[in-house]
């Protein structure tokens, strides 16, 4: 059960973050950070299918995480999402067309290994 939940969290995290990033880039940069601008951003999100879809997928991941937290420690549950880092970096390059330099690959690999090491 534990590992099924980990699988659901990993896949949904990656898919959700990529959809949301694509949607937020399409919507445009939030330039000012006052409450009014952030409120305006949130209102526009309700007409943004990419971000809404991404949030729905992340919601599945969130409830899977709540379940996982109730049957294991936070030190197992939170690091279990580690694999998303490499998957997200790969999809950021292929789908979002980001310039993933060697530092980013190396950094994402180190983070994935480091987060996995935290489980011990």
């Amino acid at each position: 059960m534990k590992w099924i939940l980990v699988g659901i969290i990993g896949i949904c995290n990656t898919l959700g973050e990529v959809l949301i990033t694509a949607g937020m880039k399409r919507q445009g940069e939030v330039e000012k950070l006052d409450p009014q601008s952030l409120g305006h951003m949130v209102v526009r999100i309700f007409r943004n299918p990419l971000v809404l879809g991404g949030q729905a997928v992340l919601a599945v991941s969130f409830f899977a995480l709540l379940s996982l937290l109730s049957i294991s420690n936070v030190s197992f549950a939170v690091p279990a999402t580690a694999i998303s880092y490499l998957l997200e970096t790969l999809l950021a390059k292929l789908v979002l067309k980001e310039d993933v330099a060697w530092r980013r690959w190396a950094g994402a690999t180190l983070v994935t290994c480091g987060v996995a090491l935290l489980q011990w």
């Binding site: 059960m1 973050e17 990529v18 949301i20 990033t21 937020m24 880039k25 399409r26 919507q27 445009g28 940069e29 939030v30 950070l33 952030l38 951003m41 949130v42 999100i45 971000v51 409830f63 709540l66 379940s67 937290l69 109730s70 049957i71 936070v74 030190s75 939170v78 690091p79 998303s84 880092y85 997200e88 970096t89 950021a92 390059k93 979002l96 067309k97 980001e98 310039d99 993933v100 330099a101 530092r103 980013r104 190396a106 950094g107 994402a108 690999t109 180190l110 983070v111 290994c113 480091g114 987060v115 996995a116 090491l117 935290l118 011990w120």
Partner: protein, 140 residues
């Protein structure tokens, strides 16, 4: 690589730090609440509603709502392949908070993990925050 406006980069970095801090506080609070609530692996929505009677869980969820909004603002400005590894430093802070606030034991292997994540986050933190072009105003 396009040149970056230093003021915009500072704003993006400030958002990154807020995302990290709200992630840490939200998860610590949520974890404490869920352990007080006890085990639930259930398809029944009522079991999940019960969770919201716990103040730590409610506080955790509220902080994570702020985290979500600031994270969206951050993703409108920065690359996903920048944001994810850099905000992973939240794991490091959660582990250290667990050690000093909750007196969790941290083994040698876990300390290694903490150092490795920090190195990864620093490495990605040295890349430009954004490598894709801004979408033209008239297409938004």
């Amino acid at each position: 690589m396009k040149s970056e406006n230093p003021i915009e980069v500072h704003t993006t970095w400030a958002l990154t730090l807020v995302v990290i801090m709200t992630n840490v506080l939200g998860n610590l609070s949520l974890s404490r609440g869920m352990h007080q609530v006890g085990k639930i692996v259930s398809a029944s929505p009522l079991d999940y509603v019960r969770v919201f009677a716990n103040p730590w869980t409610v506080a955790g969820v509220c902080i994570l709502v702020v985290w979500m909004i600031i994270d969206l603002a951050l993703l409108s400005r920065a690359d996903l392949s920048f944001v994810m590894p850099v905000t992973a430093s939240a794991y490091v802070l959660i582990a250290i908070a667990g050690r000093f606030l909750l007196h969790d034991h941290i083994s040698g292997v876990r300390w290694t993990g903490i150092v490795v994540i920090t190195l990864g986050a620093v490495l990605v933190g040295e890349t430009p925050v954004r490598t894709t072009k801004r979408r033209p105003e008239h297409l938004r």
